[in-house]
């Protein structure tokens, strides 16, 4: 019989941290603070055991856990670390290796690979035959993985686990009604005052700051510095501080700049500007020219010969389109039902029910509050396209870093180890 939780999984009073993506669990993690209660040694060990077992292998019985518990905790060293006698080495958090055997379990590995929202859900998938290891179906969550094992989950399960909850018909209708109400209000305001609404819609938001050609240029340049290697053809190093570029990056830029200077400079003529405008900013070339501010920015970009990828400038397209478009009193007609043929043009069907045959929210959207749990594990290699993952090795501990993922501090693991090594043998 699978073990049922001995205490409520998301109790706010107890505040135990669980291996789960539930938003209430996130709140418990957020508010948890490290404190050492002045208590006897046994009380400290007991509390550490309670806290750490609530996260690591909560779904295992205590006897199952003791079956995999290993007394010897081992860390990994590099040779030059061993010879370093400066005394400034980072500590080796060997205590975190306590729950490394739990990470070998198939259900835990699935949770780490983000194929399930919790090891309990992973166990559900496993027991219903949706999981394979090395091509064979495995129906037991305790299956211990070995280095090199390839495990896979049926994509529908993963999409259900990671995606939003499919709304019921009633809920979907209610949300659509609210959306329609807000959208109708928007359209009404457009009819009444199209000029004001146009400026509101295409005005840069406060996050981007006021419209400023130099600032926009800086933004373009900052985006391309991230991908420095082959894309920059003639970036001038004036104004770029040494801290921004690594040593290697700087060398490459110098190399490119020398090549660029050898080939000769390119004048920023009208043809190249309009070419850039049509190619990257999808501005209408028929009659309306870009505004003077936009022209200035484009000129700078062409002069500096910064090679821009279209995907990188999707953000700026909106700004430029807004600034460069000529105001037309009928600009909002695209949103009207008569023209676009739908009451809610961004949606195809009811909210979340684009495809009724799927058990998850469609079109597929990630669940909320997923970001704080989006951790890439070191001991697994994951393919999201096929929902396959490879168990590379048992998680190890090295100086300053442990591959065992745990939200709890090191001293709690050490105390829990003391508990198990002495009091549970």
């Amino acid at each position: 019989m699978p073990k049922k939780p001995s205490s409520p999984l998301r109790s706010l009073a107890r505040g135990l941290v669980r291996a789960s993506w539930h938003k209430q669990n996130l709140y418990n993690i957020f508010k948890k603070e490290a404190y050492r209660r002045s208590a006897s040694l046994y009380q400290q060990k007991w509390e550490s055991k309670r806290e750490t077992r609530a996260y690591h292998g909560e779904h295992m019985t205590e006897n199952n856990w003791l079956g995999v518990f290993q007394k010897n905790l081992v860390g990994a060293e590099t040779l030059h670390d061993k010879d370093d006698k400066s005394g400034e080495r980072e500590p080796l958090p060997v205590g975190l290796q306590l729950y490394a055997p739990v990470e070998r379990r198939l259900d835990m590995a699935m949770f780490r690979a983000m194929f399930a929202s919790s090891p309990r859900q992973a166990r559900e998938f496993i027991s219903s035959g949706k999981v394979k290891v090395n091509g064979s179906k495995v129906k037991h969550g305790f299956y211990p993985l070995r280095p090199g094992d390839v495990f896979s989950v049926e994509p529908e399960c993963v999409l259900t686990a990671v995606g939003r909850e499919k709304p019921s018909d009633g809920l979907s209708k209610a949300i659509d009604a609210k959306q329609l109400e807000a959208f109708n209000k928007f359209k009404e305001s457009c009819r009444e005052d199209p000029r004001n609404m146009f400026e509101q819609k295409f005005r840069p938001t406060s996050v981007d700051g006021p419209y400023d050609p130099d600032r926009l240029y800086e933004k373009v340049r900052a985006m391309t510095i991230e991908n420095l290697t082959n894309k920059i053809q003639g970036l001038s190093l004036d104004g770029v501080s040494a801290e921004e570029l690594t040593a290697r990056g700087k060398e490459e830029v110098e190399q490119y700049r020398n090549e660029f200077q050898a080939n000769g400079n390119v004048a920023a003529d009208d043809q190249s500007i309009s070419q850039l405008a049509t190619q990257f900013f999808r501005l209408d070339n028929s009659g309306s020219n870009p505004s003077p501010e936009v022209n200035e920015v484009l000129k700078k970009i062409v002069e500096r010969r910064v090679d821009i990828q279209q995907a990188e400038l999707q953000e700026l397209v909106r700004l430029f389109r807004g600034a460069a478009s000529v105001y037309d009193p009928r600009w909002y007609y695209a949103y009207l039902e008569d023209y676009c043929g739908s009451a809610l043009p961004w949606q195809d069907g009811a909210y979340g029910l684009q495809d009724l045959s799927k058990p998850y929210f469609t079109p597929w959207t990630p669940r909320t509050f997923l970001a704080p749990f989006a951790i890439v594990p070191w001991h697994l290699e994951i393919s999201y396209k096929t929902c396959h993952a490879v168990y590379l090795r048992d998680p190890i501990t090295r100086r300053g870093h442990s591959e065992v993922i745990s939200p709890l501090p090191l001293y709690m693991h050490e105390n829990a180890y003391l508990f198990y090594v002495r009091d549970r043998q």
Partner: protein
């Protein structure tokens, strides 16, 4: 803002002023906080008699709900698109976590990327996220692996990615190609894969060393996990002035020297010695003797000669667990294990 200035009235039993949640400004001291007679009259927040105090704190933390039920103002609600993680921030003792989360709404917050950005839990600085291989790096690795003159360790050393990970990348790429040819990658699955890629931190490894992620994403290649013989307590009595060199340690533990081990890992594909085979034919002893000292000692026991032979990791020993599907006649088993 998700953190409303409307505070819930709390008794001053523990020296707290009205509206103060706890002495250190946190939500943790739930059990210690005394609820006074006036606290339920919190008509400002509309929580009269509906929720317990901890629950009302939590509701306050989540913040305002949008029309579709999303807590859209909470900074942790939505996943990022720029490969920079959106974890609970690390804080010093002077600044509370709540204050830093308020700053997360600022656009400049995501520009200040440092090592703590890649640490998901504020209480545990030893847990760090790994990095998904960027498309460029992945393509470069696959290209290098197709080159027959490059061995696995060379590819690993070139890009700063461990051997097993390189092998796994190749294996998973094959599966992906197979799925694409068979049309198994549905639009939803493609959407999911792209979204996961955009929210996870990515690295270029040694391909380009421009960002912090590239530096942190480089994996340590020269690592030694102590051999099993060394994981037990071992005591050897020796003279005070006697010297104990690494060679002595290696022979004591019946394991290769650390330097030799590392040499093998880096420059040769060292087979993993995992099985023992009883050899009855004594003519074979000559062949086995040449293995002596390379991996382990040869042991003569009775009529048999025992030694360790190179074997592929994992394909030996007894498979624990109830999954004996490979022996069932009606189920075909194709061992697709990755031999690293």
């Amino acid at each position: 803002m998700p953190f409303s200035t409307r505070n819930i009235l709390v008794s001053t039993a523990r020296g707290l002023s009205p509206g103060q949640l706890s002495t250190n400004g946190s939500y943790t001291q739930v059990r210690g906080v005394r609820i006074g007679p006036g606290s339920y009259l919190n008509r400002d927040y509309g929580l009269v008699g509906r929720h317990t105090l901890p629950r009302s704190h939590m509701i306050q933390w989540f913040g305002e709900k949008g029309p579709n039920g999303d807590f859209y103002k909470n900074p942790f609600c939505y996943a990022p698109w720029d490969h920079i993680p959106n974890y609970i921030p690390h804080t010093s003792s002077k600044i509370s976590r709540d204050e830093i989360v308020k700053k997360m709404a600022d656009s400049n917050y995501r520009k200040g990327v440092n090592e703590n950005t890649y640490k998901p839990f504020p209480l545990n600085s030893y847990t760090k996220t790994s990095f998904v291989l960027s498309e460029e790096l992945r393509e470069a690795i696959l290209q290098s692996c197709r080159d027959p003159q490059m061995s696995l360790w060379q590819v690993s050393a070139r890009y700063g990615i461990r051997k097993e990970r390189v092998a796994a990348t190749v294996k998973l790429a094959k599966i992906e190609t197979q799925w694409e040819n068979e049309g198994k990658i549905t639009p939803d699955l493609a959407r999911y894969a792209h979204r996961m890629y955009m929210m996870m931190p990515i690295t270029n490894g040694r391909l380009s060393q421009n960002t912090l992620a590239d530096k942190l994403g480089e994996e340590p290649l020269e690592e030694i996990v102590p051999p099993k013989t060394a994981q037990r307590n071992n005591i050897q009595i020796m003279h005070e002035t006697a010297k104990f060199s690494p060679e002595d340690a290696a022979s004591f533990f019946h394991a290769p020297e650390a330097a030799e081990l590392m040499d093998r890992q880096l420059y040769r594909d060292m087979p993993k010695v995992v099985s023992f085979q009883g050899v009855k034919d004594k003519d074979l002893a000559k062949k086995i003797k040449q293995w002596k000292g390379r991996y382990t000692d040869v042991v003569f026991k009775g009529n048999n000669i025992w030694t360790a032979i190179p074997a592929k990791a994992g394909k030996v020993g007894y498979r624990y667990g109830a999954s004996r599907d490979h022996r069932k006649k009606h189920r075909k088993h194709k061992d697709e294990r990755l031999n690293i």
